[in-house]
Symmetry: C2
Subunit: 182 residues, 2 copies
DNA sequence: GGAGACATGTAATGCGTTACATGATTTG
DNA sequence: CAAATCATGTAACGCATTACATGTCTCC
């Protein structure tokens, strides 16, 4: 987990698409990108400065309104090279999910422990919300075939996430039902 | 990620089942527990000492062979209380997957980029291996109905993980096929 | 004019990895 | 008797969160 500095490549990837401020990047993590990555602004701003020192990105200042300074960052060719290299690197070992539903469930031994039902009903709510959000985004972003082709990776990961949530929800509801009938 | 100290509860949960050495705990992370949690020994040993200082666990020394000292840790009632409290706490927000396949895929825009095929074939191998392992474990541990009942949480999380890998693999193979036919 | 969003920073702390370090035991 | 595994530790470092801190702009 530590020592990979994945945020670096997430930022480079986002900046390859558009010039962005730190604040813009932060906001992107609250949309479907949040399904696979998140970082706080307190980590993003220093990382942007570091990338600029490494000459992978540059910045330009813009004034918005009377005096609000916004710093837009732009990717440089060395940044694109670094991103491309990372994209071609072999994948790591699969990481543990570290998901707290699974974690807690593992430590409850008895079928009739009331806490299992509580865990399931909480988990169903969490995932229902996520499923609804992702489905809505799919509709907004990729109802046209053209958009699917133009951001193919994004389209695929969204499809993947929706399938995951759908399968998961179905399983959760099935098990929850059979827990109640016992 | 930081600031939760989940390892603490993982250790308490494991120690509630059996007395264990730090080395035993490390080894458990290489079996199906590794699907949802992993820590290095360099984090486990200090954490065990910390838990002992907090009076949640105690230890006893055993000599194995001539002079090899093994420290077994045992959970105390305060430890069980802490574990139970954690099990009843509401679940956190769903965390981002931070999975590098998804991450990389997101940043590849064009359907015909060769790197998409490479990513998929690597990912299929990773997940096939995992699926095979989990399925084997299911057979070893839970072929008897009795074992399913006695470690019900463990049984459920294994079932869940196998379903996840199975669904994922099916999707990966489908997409991979349609990528090649283009 | 106030609430809420926009916008950018730093400091303290802790989780987690990598690397360094040592010795005992088992197995072939 | 050597290699692999068992067994336990510490140190350095970096990723990540929480909290502290400040000021601007937009919209009602």
């Amino acid at each position: 987990m530590a020592k990979k500095n994945t945020l670096k490549y997430v930022i480079l990837g986002l900046l390859r698409q558009h010039d962005l401020t730190g604040y813009d990047i932060k906001k992107l993590f609250s949309c479907e990108i949040g399904d696979f990555w998140n970082s706080k602004h307190s980590q993003i701003y220093p990382e942007l400065k570091k990338l600029e020192e490494e000459h992978l990105i540059t910045s330009r200042m813009e004034i918005s309104g009377k005096k609000l300074e916004k710093t837009y960052y732009m990717i440089k060719s060395a940044g694109i090279d670094a991103l491309d290299k990372w994209l071609s690197d072999p994948l790591d070992e699969i990481q543990p999910t570290r998901d707290d539903f699974t974690l807690k469930l593992y430590f409850i031994d008895h079928r009739h422990d009331q806490r299992i039902k509580n865990l399931f009903s909480e988990e169903i709510l969490r995932h229902q919300k996520k499923f609804d959000y992702l489905s809505a985004r799919m509709g907004e972003l990729f109802s046209s075939r053209e958009n699917q082709e133009q951001n193919f990776g994004h389209y695929l990961i969204l499809k993947k996430a929706i399938l995951r949530e759908n399968t998961q929800l179905k399983w959760l509801k099935d098990e929850y039902r059979s827990l109640k009938n016992n």
